[in-house]
């Protein structure tokens, strides 16, 4: 049992999905779905707690290997967690549980299909971060991605058809480029093995030719870049998140999108240090000038609450890219911490935005106001989420951003100054949104809506998923060591001190 723990975290949601599609009554389906989301979350907490004392093999704990018939190609389902994967695995478990619980109470049409798709997505998410084999890393990402398209198309809000189509084409293009990059690493390393440990050892001995590294890193940077919404390839993201049903948006923006960054931190930069150094400057500039500044200003101009959250998540990816571009262990650590924090906070924001919508019947910021008097708990949660997103100390995001800025200072002072000014931008739009929704006087439109259907505060079925995320945000905010200790240990292995930490100033 315990030797198959990681596999179980993937199989449990899949099994739940299969049982649900076999045709259960809706009430039983909800129970099964809740169990399907609970299992990976509990496993994630379990491995988090036991990680320090667990047996490690090349830095990977809880290792399991299964053959699927492609050994001759060097593909095996090998699962395991190192310090870089662990925080994201935990993130996937927690956000999955929150999104799942929120979906169960959402009362969506055809709820069984919706829950089944969400469970498949959850299985894929657990698999992405548990895979040591980079083929399965990609495979699980796609497994999680497909349900997203369907959920956006079927259960989405306005423009769902267009949004689903655009998302599908963009993300397929990104995934294809990354697949090519991964195959290139597989082949050019000479290892002819998709196992990350073997790849790392082979490359440490032989290395890949300088020029080849540049090409492969370029493929991965743009492939992963599309998936993580690197400016100017980000246009699918706000549109898609705006249209996506809230649980799908929570899982995608919160967890799945981190696939690309995780790929850069865990695979691309360590295995292709010269290629990464070659691309570091363009990447950093795209991230700071494009994602942080341009998208930051666009975010300020948004009137639609959900679109604003979508744009803000694109903007925050700029910090993560900047952290990657520093090519240092410190920067990479900051990226991982920030991914966890951002995943929790953006999922919370999507969740709360939808709860706001249920009370105001609109996402339009100019048609709200004064909701705090009617729904104090919702207001408190929303303000917390906003503070987290801005990076207030005491909440998880602070540590990630701080570490990234420290690493970036050594990389380029100009870029760091520009990036730090982005924090002001996110404070402006975050606080403005909170103010427009919850404070001041209710607008006429809102008064009319509230007269028909008075606003009630968050119900427990909404509070629990939100609390899971808030508790995690505070826990990591006050005790980042729980994640950073294993993370640092892994980064020492993956990012040797010799690596070119600084590339051009």
């Amino acid at each position: 049992m315990f030797s198959h723990l990681l596999l179980l975290s993937i199989v449990a949601p899949l099994a739940a999905a299969a049982v649900i599609s076999a045709g259960l009554p809706a009430r039983a389906a909800k129970v099964v779905a809740a169990l399907g989301f609970l299992a990976p979350a509990l496993i994630a907490l379990h491995v988090w707690y036991h990680f320090p004392e667990s047996v490690q093999d090349h830095g990977y704990a809880f290792k399991e290997v299964y053959a699927t018939g492609l050994q001759s190609l060097g593909i095996k389902l090998s699962l395991g967690l190192n310090g870089i994967a662990l925080p994201l695995f935990v993130l996937a478990g927690l956000v999955g549980l929150a999104a799942g619980l929120y979906a169960i109470q959402s009362g969506a049409e055809r709820i069984k299909t919706y829950l089944a798709l969400l469970l498949v997505m959850q299985a894929g998410l657990m698999g992405v971060f548990a895979s040591i084999d980079i083929f399965f890393f990609y495979f699980f990402h796609e497994l999680a991605l497909i349900p997203t398209f369907i959920m956006v198309g079927v259960w989405g809000g306005k423009d769902r058809g267009y949004a689903a189509m655009k998302m599908t084409i963009y993300l397929t293009a990104g995934a294809m480029l990354s697949l090519l990059g991964l195959i290139a690493i597989y082949y050019k390393s000479g290892a002819e093995n998709f196992d990350l440990i073997t790849l790392r050892q082979t490359i440490l001995q032989a290395g890949i030719h300088n020029h080849t590294q540049n090409v492969i890193f370029g493929l991965l940077m743009f492939g992963f870049g599309i998936l993580v919404s690197l400016w100017p390839l980000h246009t699918w993201a706000p549109l898609g998140y705006g249209a996506a049903p809230s649980s799908a948006a929570m899982l995608h923006a919160g967890v799945l999108k981190k696939f690309g960054l995780y790929g850069l931190v865990q695979i691309a930069v360590p295995l292709l240090p010269l290629g990464a150094a070659h691309w570091a400057q363009p990447l950093a500039w795209l991230a700071v000038a494009g994602n942080i500044l341009v998208i930051g200003f666009i975010t300020i101009a948004q009137r639609d609450l959900k679109q604003m959250v979508g744009y803000s998540s694109v903007m925050h990816m700029g910090y993560a890219f900047l952290g990657v571009a520093t090519l240092s262990a410190v920067g990479a650590g900051g990226v991982v911490l920030m991914m966890v924090a951002h995943g929790l906070s953006v999922a919370l924001l999507f969740l709360l935005s939808t709860s706001v919508y249920h009370r105001t019947q609109t996402f339009d910021l100019t048609e709200m106001g004064g909701l705090a008097q009617k729904t104090p708990v919702l207001a408190a949660f929303f303000v917390t989420a906003t503070m987290a997103s801005i990076g207030l100390p005491g909440l998880a995001n602070f540590w990630g951003e701080l570490t990234i800025f420290v690493a970036a200072w050594a990389f380029s002072k100009t870029l760091t100054v520009l990036a730090v000014s982005g924090v002001v931008i996110s404070a402006i739009y975050g606080l403005r949104a909170a103010a427009k929704v919850f404070f001041g006087q209710p607008t006429e439109a809102l008064t009319k809506v509230l007269a028909e259907k008075p606003a009630v505060d968050l119900r427990w079925s909404e509070k629990i998923p939100a609390l899971i995320l808030i508790v995690a945000l505070f826990f990591i905010g006050f005790w980042p060591k729980s994640l950073s200790t294993p993370l640092n240990a892994a980064l020492e292995v993956v990012y040797p001190a010799k690596a070119p930490a600084v590339a051009g100033k």
């Binding site: 699927t68 018939g69 492609l70 050994q71 001759s72 190609l73 083929f135 990609y138 495979f139 796609e142 497994l143 497909i146 398209f149 369907i150 198309g153 079927v154 769902r160 058809g161 689903a164 189509m165 599908t168 084409i169 397929t172 293009a173 294809m176 480029l177 697949l179 090519l180 195959i183 290139a184 597989y186 082949y187």
Partner: protein, 506 residues
């Protein structure tokens, strides 16, 4: 008959082609049965055809590990039995069964003689099985013509439909043209390889072994090069590669849906199995000629197929053109197979995944088609997932696999091809393939969108009738078949097991 001939015939290892012979006998038996059985009981014949073929397939698989003729040549070198040949035999028998099952569904909507359809399908399949094991241009051509002539009848089978007849005529004309080109190529090769003044010439120069020896000793012969290009062109017609894809949209649209499936899967697979035999074994020493010709073809095929499919509204034309692009991906693997043994396995895996996915999609199409088989529009799929969740799910899995989306079998096929192409260093073709895959998402996804995403349709006014054909109820046999195709597509995407190991470990 002279005693020598009788002796020679007795030496032939008839047991080696027992599956083909029994398939042919089964076809004849069904025809005889039709004559003797009272008309009321004719309904049993299709069932008998399917059960009989299933029995033959099981019997064949049962014997697979027993006595077989792998790595032997029989019939004086006409046939060469290989592992790949065995694989393709199973493949074509499966196709034949699946076409028969779809045929039962489709023919029920037509006022047509029903028995010949199954007999012809079986004979065509037997010919394809021989084709995949051919080792001699005489047998190659005869088997190929048997396939083609069978298809002339099958394509025009709905003879009350003008579109079906038109398709039959088009297939006849283009098929005859391609046969002529192919034959011309064979004759050139025969002539030049039979020239006693050249080194390595042979009196039996249509034999693949003899031809290979000749080509190896004359690596720069002009006439041989022309012959090779002509033979490749003839085969390119069968697989529908650019510039020989012109016939595909019209013929696919006009042909009865099961026949379209047969053309799309089996005919294409037959083309690829002979293409592999020819390029790897026979024309191996002319790789400097075959590789550029096939590369240009592959690139153009992928781009043309995908771009042309983008604008289609008729699903039969759409899947026909998307099939063109699949031929392009497969051609990449055929090219890579020259230096990477893995690539040949990739071709077979891809074909198998393509079979599962295509028949799933065609199965759904058969159930949605009305009496006018050529009229199958994307619009007919609106609301399918809600009204028929089963058909919707099968369609989504089939299309997803064709689009190459993990965790479905089609993705693994594409992955193997990409890896092989990477190892062979075919970077420009890889880039084109990636572009093609992204384009293809648009139309495959559009189809899924039609079936799944709610779109507003005008409510029917009084006195107005729904112009969309009524959907056929899914019968037990068709239901089990579609479900197994979908499940197999899913399972092969997750777990390739012994099949993957066998195909890729060489």
């Amino acid at each position: 008959m002279s005693p020598e001939l009788i002796q020679a015939a007795a030496d032939n290892r008839w047991a080696a082609i027992a599956p083909e012979i029994s398939l042919g006998c089964l076809a004849l038996f069904l025809l005889v049965l039709e004559v003797f059985l009272p008309k009321k009981q004719h309904a049993v014949i299709p069932t008998l055809a399917i059960v009989g073929q299933l029995g033959l397939l099981i019997g064949f698989l049962w014997n697979l590990r027993g006595v077989n003729f792998v790595a032997h040549e029989t019939f004086s070198g006409l046939l060469r039995h290989t592992q790949e040949g065995q694989f393709m035999r199973v493949f074509f028998m499966l196709c034949s069964i699946l076409v028969s099952i779809l045929g039962v569904v489709a023919l029920a909507k037509q006022k047509m003689p029903k028995i010949e359809f199954f007999a012809i399908t079986m004979v065509v399949s037997a010919a394809m099985m021989l084709l995949a094991q051919s080792n001699h241009f005489v047998l190659f051509f005869v088997a190929l013509e048997t396939v083609t002539v069978g298809f002339y009848i099958l394509v025009g089978y709905f003879r009350t439909s003008p579109l079906s007849l038109e398709a039959g005529l088009k297939y006849l004309i283009t098929g005859a043209l391609s046969s002529a080109i192919l034959l011309f190529g064979i004759v050139l090769l025969y002539g030049v390889a039979g020239n006693p003044t050249l080194p390595g010439s042979s009196s039996d120069s249509m034999n693949f072994n003899a031809l290979r020896v000749f080509l190896e000793s004359n690596p720069q012969n002009f006439l041989a090069s022309v012959g090779i290009v002509f033979v490749l062109a003839g085969v390119a017609f069968k697989i529908g590669a650019v510039p020989f894809q012109i016939w595909i949209p019209d013929v696919y649209q006009g042909a009865p849906t099961p026949v379209t499936a047969f053309l799309a899967v089996a005919s294409k697979a037959a083309g690829f199995s002979v293409l592999l035999i020819l390029t790897q074994r026979v024309f191996g020493s002319y790789y400097y000629l075959t590789v550029p010709v096939l590369s240009v073809m592959a690139g153009a095929t992928i781009l043309f197929g995908n771009l042309a499919a983008l604008t289609q509204h008729n699903v039969k034309r759409l899947i026909g053109l998307s099939g063109v692009s699949h031929a392009g991906y497969l051609l990449i693997a055929v090219i890579a197979a020259g230096s990477q043994p893995l690539a040949a396995g990739a071709v077979y895996f891809y074909l198998f995944a393509y079979l599962l996915a295509s028949f799933a999609v065609f199965g759904v199409m058969t159930h949605l088609a009305g009496a006018n088989d050529a009229d199958q529009d994307l619009e007919h799929y609106t609301g399918l997932a809600k009204a028929h969740p089963f058909l919707g799910a099968v369609l989504a899995i089939g299309l997803g696999s064709l689009a190459g989306i993990p965790p479905l079998a089609g993705f693994m096929g594409k992955l193997f091809i990409f890896i092989a192409a990477f190892k062979a260093g075919l970077y420009p073709l890889l880039a084109i393939a990636i572009v093609g895959v992204v384009i293809s998402i648009y139309y495959y996804f559009g189809w899924i969108k039609a079936a799944y995403f709610e779109t507003w349709t005008a409510p029917l006014l009084e006195g107005e009738t729904d112009t969309r054909p009524a959907r056929t109820r899914v019968g037990l046999m068709a239901g089990v078949t579609l479900a197994s195709l979908a499940v197999a597509t899913l399972v092969l995407g997750f777990y390739q097991g012994a099949l993957g190991e066998w195909l890729l470990s060489r």
